[in-house]
Amino acid sequence: MIKSHWAALCSLLLLSAAPFAQAADPAGMVKVARGQDSIERDGKKLPAEVGSQVDVADRVRTGADGSVGVTLRDNTLLSAGPNSLIVFDKFAFDNTTQDGNMSIRIRKGTLSVASGKIAKRTPESVDFHTPTSVLGVRGTEFAVEVVGGNDE
């Protein structure tokens, strides 16, 4: 019982903390955008254009003709092909110490990754989530495809 109360409390805290986290935490910037792409933030849908900032908790979605490339603050390069949904769950990077962590989810579509400074220094603090697995990186470039993933 106590455990489940804690779980409920924790998820409440997480929910209430989310809006603050995303207001203050830029993760990266859109450098390439083709076709219809959008950034979903706070329930609003914004166009994803070259120069758009991507924040922690944002969801980046590409249309049937879309693709998008984002450079994160630690120099990680992410790019998504058409009909993709990428969620920026966590990102933190300290320029002075070069410590940080990231957790990114691909819900559907295709994503290519060229990892950056965080993965070089602390690979264990970087992970990518697909609907059924967790990918850990070891100084890496890789690509993931999820077919028939959830749209939300």
Binding site: T71, S79, S112, T130, V137, V144
Partner: protein, 198 residues
């Protein structure tokens, strides 16, 4: 404890089974740009798969994992549009200072021309200016000096027309020498500022 955990565990397993039934996934390790060995670990409740050769790949569907060797042709077909949208790789320049102060060497002043050009040409460019010192002086003094050097270069870039909001300046002091030395060694290669354009 046991009775609480069991339903949770089976629910988790059921969710994975459900997702596994309707989704299929491919993961492919690509050759690294610098040619160094790299790897991806794919973990699920059943265990983990290590992909550690270029084009090593895993196909996951309906609770089954198949490891196979992909190819440039398959990568192009499956990931061509994602890879075509990959941003340009960040580039890095190193500028050097005359001893003890904040004045760039002659060569480094010339290199600034290329840096400004690259900042202007890259789409939505952002610039990180990172200052470093040699090991002459205290750690604290070198933290200040490295920050001063980085901010000096940041100001120089702003004066030459780069927008201030594109530029960040940080000082790493004597922590990250290009050439490792004993303390108090005057090493010109360590008196530098790194400019990373992304």
């Amino acid at each position: 404890m046991v009775t609480m955990n069991k339903p949770k565990l089976s629910l988790t397993l059921a969710m994975f089974a459900f997702l596994g039934a309707c989704a299929s996934e491919h993961v492919v390790l690509l050759p690294s740009a610098d040619g160094r060995p790299s790897a991806v670990v794919v973990r699920d409740p059943g265990g983990e798969i290590l992909l550690d050769k270029p084009y090593a790949a895993a196909k996951r569907s309906r609770d089954t994992n198949k490891v196979y060797l992909s190819s440039p042709a398959e990568v192009k077909e499956r990931f061509g549009q994602a890879l075509a949208a990959q941003p340009s790789r960040p580039s890095s320049y190193v500028l050097y200072f005359e001893a003890g102060g904040n004045v760039l060497t002659q060569e480094s002043q010339a290199a600034m021309v290329n840096i400004r050009k690259e900042i202007a040409e890259r789409p939505a460019s952002e610039v990180m200016v990172i200052g470093h010192t040699d090991r002459v002086g205290s750690v604290e003094a070198n933290d200040r000096l490295s920050k001063t050097r980085a901010e000096g270069l940041r100001n120089l870039l702003i004066e030459s027309g780069v927008r201030a909001d594109k530029l960040e300046a940080v000082g790493r002091g004597e922590r990250d020498p290009l050439v490792p030395t004993e303390d108090e060694v005057d090493e010109p290669k360590n008196r530098r500022v790194e400019i990373s354009v992304r």
